[in-house]
Amino acid sequence: MLHSLAPLPFALPLMMAALLMGLSRFVPRWLTDAIALVTGALVTVVCVILLMGSANQPIVYWFGGWTPHQGVALGVAFVVGPLGAGLASLAALLVTAALLFSVKYFEAVGAVYHVLMLSFLGAMCGFSLTGDLFDLFVFFELMSAVAFALTAYRTEEKGPLQGALNFAIINTVGAYLVLCGIALVYARTGALNFAQIGRALSAGPSDGLVTMAFVLIACGFLIKAAIVPFHFWLADAHAMAPTPVCVLFSGVMVELGVYGVARVYWTMFAGTFGPHMVAIRGILIGFGAATAILGAIFCVSEEHIKRLLAFSTISHVGVLITGLGLLTPLGLAGAAVYVLGHGLVKASLFLGAGILLNQFQTASETELFGRGRHLVVLGGMFLVGGLALAGLPPFGTALGKGMIEAAASKAGDAWLSAVIIVASALTGGAVLRVAGRVFLGLGQPEGQPDQAGADDEAEQPESARQLRTPMVMLLPALVLLAGALASGLVPNIAMRTEQAAGAFINQRGYSQVVLNGAARLASNGPLIPTGPDLSEVAGGLGSTTAAVLVGLLAIYRRQLPAAVCRAASRHLEPPLQRLRGLQSGDVRDYAAWLTFGVATMGLAFAFAVH
């Protein structure tokens, strides 16, 4: 019974998308909303059931009944494990929340919007659950195609169009990189099933072909995950996409890119790369740390709230990559918990930004100064969201971060804790600054709006203004924030995730289960449930305090002694301007950076393997 639920997370939303498209001219808006919402909720339930059901043993589902014959897979399999099912659940939950938010947010939205959202959901679920390399690629492409269209939803404006074009061109090149990598893997192994490929590759050397295959596939996914130097498209697209869509981009799509790398690495390449693990760890951690720090700097120097949140996502992806890059079960588990906590917090903050945009027709912090004083609930939400982003225990973000830091210090990379604390303090502080200035009116209003702002035309409203914030807009945001709190309080979540991560990185066990139908995927041994770790709590409180300080400093920066101000602007402004200048909006620059990034990653791997 549980087994036959496996195809539903992708098939159900896609079928409903087709249904809504066929009925689009005959069905009123409320019914379209209702059908889409019910579908989203159903998929969430199915994914959660799959998550529970696959806790001890992955569910292997062969489409068309084509079970492997003598170790050769003829068909396509879904391999549902706790991490994949968890991501699919998060995606489904966020889609449902975004759809609920959209009920009142878009006034004249056709069924096409719902069709695209449901297709997006199907693609994300399929991407998380599939056990086949080419299937992973087609789900990736579906996700991209839908995302391009959704980004340019407001076609009457320039910004979204350019954002969508940059997004589409860069990510399409990324997809071709992935496809080339897949072709190389296929040429070597004659297989497309992860498990079968993993077996075949483990038996051979890690030569140029294998190395480049991994580099190409990983770079394609990392472009989606927007790590430095592939990150340029993200800020353009996120700031310009409609808010409910941003929720999905930041909350789960970008994280799926990281998941793709993890899945590809551990099911296929971990065996052959085993002897070079130390060097590969260094590369991944390096890219992760650079992304975490640069993203945080961009984030705190931004005043357009949606762009600020977008840059904060880049920084947090950096943290995820470091967690993954430690290549240990604990690090991976920390990243998984962090995805959950961060996705929920970030989604709720984006919805909050959408409410602000809806109320005041602007997302500029300067223009919004002090105007949110009467929005008590929303203000509280931003405040709590900022603290959660900074890693306040017991939010899921704090737990995930604590686990990554623990894994880092176990692996002898304790300096990573500093990187993570800086990233959380800056990104959390930026949100706290927004909360303080917009909702509390702290500090001084700034005379002229930021000239570096992107718009040469006034930002157009995404939706007609509501006089009072409707409950259907506020409720999803609050529920998601509560979910972020709850995610840190699930009993034994740390231990269970670590167990799941142990199974996730067990390549040989994975192949056994998929190809030979072995009963159980053993993890690396029994784990002892641990209570809340005091040092983790202390670390979380520390980074939260740092974030509050950053926020206060940013709010009252004008009140600092004049000499300090001048010195700061003399030493900080020029490099910051230069960094921000790289974000030129010209897709040709981004393509050059993409080439540079792939070349750098490739050279790094070439040296690592030899």
């Binding site: 195609a145 169009l161 074009l165 909006g585 897709v587 393509a591």
Partner: protein
């Protein structure tokens, strides 16, 4: 000869990338993307090719005789659909950009900066 297809693949990918980076016209840029994609077709089909073997269509071929790999061909087929659709989306974006910006020169699109 035996290495020629691989060189052609790399060449097409590089040439397409060069076109994208130096382009002064979005439509030109989009066409360069399809050149990159064509390199993936060549790669896939060359990988599945077996010297002297026939197409995997067994209507005219006794099924025991050797045929080239059908899987890469199925993948290439899927790839072609993906190409056409992504291209359509990009062109729709280009049409719209032409309306809003009055130009489709990437150098003169100035909605996002800083």
């Amino acid at each position: 000869m035996s290495l020629l297809p691989w060189f052609v693949v790399v060449w097409l990918f590089a040439v397409g990338l060069y076109g994208i980076v130096t382009s002064r016209d979005l439509i030109h840029q989009v066409i360069c993307l399809t050149v990159i994609q064509s390199s993936t077709y060549v790669l896939l089909l060359a990988i599945g090719y077996r010297r002297g073997a026939a197409a995997p269509v067994f209507a005219t071929l006794p099924s025991s005789s050797s045929a080239v790999d059908p899987v890469v061909q199925a993948l290439a087929l899927t790839d072609i659909v993906v190409e056409a659709t992504v291209l359509a989306l990009l062109l729709a974006l280009t049409v719209q950009a032409g309306k809003r910006f009055g130009t489709i020169d990437p150098q003169q699109l100035h909605a996002l900066r800083g």
